[in-house]
Amino acid sequence: MRSPHYFVKGFAVLLLAASLVACSTSGIEAIGKPDDADVKKHLLIHSDALANKVTISDMRSREVGGLLEVNLKLANLTSSDKAVEYRFSWFDADEFEVEAGTDAWTPVNLHGAQSVTVRGVAPNGSVKSYRLNVKGQ
C-alpha cells in the first residue's frame, strides 16, 4: 500500500506538466533589407530556449518583376524533430507595414539537424524591408 504522499507528488507533477504544455514559446526574428544581408546584426532573440534549438541564416533577397523576393534558411540545431511556425511582415521605405495582417503563420516541421529554405514574396512593389518571425508550436 503506497502512502498518500506518493499520490500527491504524482498529482503535482501532472499539474506542472499540464501547465508547461499550455505555455507556448515566443521566438526569434530576423530583420532584413536588400542592401544589408548581415543576419547576425539583425537577429532578435526573444526566446533563448528556441534560439538554442532553431536558427535563421543565409538571408538572401532579390527583385523579381518589381517585387522583393527573400529566401532564408531555418535550421534545427538539435537531433530531434522540432515543429515551428514562421511569418513574414513587409515594410515600405518609411518603415510602415505593408498589407499588415495578410501573411499568415506557416507551420513547418524540421527533422533533427535539418535545414529548410523559407521563401517570401513581398505583397507589392512598395516593400523595401522585411521581418521574419519564428516561434515554437
Binding site: 498518500p4 504522499h5 498529482f11 499539474l15 518583376g65 517585387l67 499568415a104 506557416t106 505583397p123
Partner: protein, 203 residues
C-alpha cells in the same frame, strides 16, 4: 506533525486540482489571431487556405514569363471555379477570393468578376434605357474589357485511416491559361499533409 503536514499538502493539491477541473468545464469565448495556425480538427481549415493562397500568389507573380507580361501592362484575368474533388464540403470560392485579392493588390493583374454579370447588365440597362439617368453621365454599354487570361484549378485529397490514425493529403493545382491561344502559361501545385493520432486516453 508529519501526518498533519502531509494532510495539508494533500488538501491544497486536491483543491488546486478541483479548481483546474472546474475551470476545464466552464465555457470561454475569446478572439484569436486569424492568421494563427489552426489545428482544431484534421479537416480543411484556415491555415490550409492561407498556405495555398500564399504559395500560389508568390509563384504566379515571380514566374518569369508572367513577370515579362506584367512588366509591360496589367493584364485582365477572370477566375473560373476551383473544382472540389475531395470528399469534404470546402468553399473553394473562398480560396480563389483570397488568391485573386492578393494578386489584384500586388498591382500586377486586373480582374473581371463573372459572378456579377447579371447585376452589371441590369445596372447598365437602367442607366441607358430607363430614361432616368442623364446620358452624359451614364456608363456606356459595350465598353467593357475582355479577359486575357483565365485562372482555374482543382482541389483533391487522399484520405487514409486506421483505428488510431487518420491521414489526409490535399493537393491544390492552379493554372493560368491565355484565352486567345488556349496555352497554359503557368501552373503550380501545393501539397498539404495532415495526420491525426488518437491520444493515450482515446480523447
Amino acid at each position: 506533525m508529519l501526518i498533519k503536514k502531509r494532510s495539508s499538502i494533500l488538501s491544497v493539491t486536491l483543491v488546486a486540482g478541483s479548481l483546474l477541473l472546474l475551470q476545464g468545464c466552464s465555457t470561454k469565448v475569446g478572439y484569436q489571431d486569424a492568421t494563427g495556425v489552426e489545428t482544431t480538427t484534421i479537416d480543411f481549415g484556415s491555415t490550409d487556405l492561407q498556405q495555398i493562397a500564399a504559395k500560389m500568389v508568390d509563384s504566379v507573380l515571380t514566374f518569369p514569363p508572367i513577370v515579362q507580361v506584367t512588366n509591360e501592362r496589367r493584364p485582365v484575368m477572370f477566375v473560373d471555379k476551383i473544382k472540389n474533388k475531395t470528399t469534404e464540403h470546402i468553399d473553394t470560392e473562398s480560396i480563389t477570393d483570397t488568391i485573386s485579392t492578393r494578386i489584384l493588390r500586388s498591382g500586377k493583374f486586373r480582374f473581371v468578376d463573372m459572378t456579377k454579370v447579371a447585376e452589371v447588365q441590369e445596372q447598365l440597362s437602367f442607366q441607358n434605357n430607363s430614361g432616368m439617368v442623364n446620358q452624359d453621365a451614364a456608363a456606356q454599354i459595350g465598353r467593357q474589357i475582355g479577359a486575357e487570361y483565365m485562372m482555374y484549378g482543382n482541389l483533391s485529397s487522399i484520405v487514409k485511416k486506421t483505428n488510431d490514425v487518420k491521414d489526409v493529403y490535399y493537393k491544390f493545382t492552379l493554372k493560368v491559361m491565355h484565352l486567345e491561344s488556349g496555352i497554359v502559361e503557368w501552373s503550380d501545385e501545393k501539397e498539404i499533409r495532415k495526420q491525426r493520432e488518437k491520444s493515450l486516453f482515446g480523447m
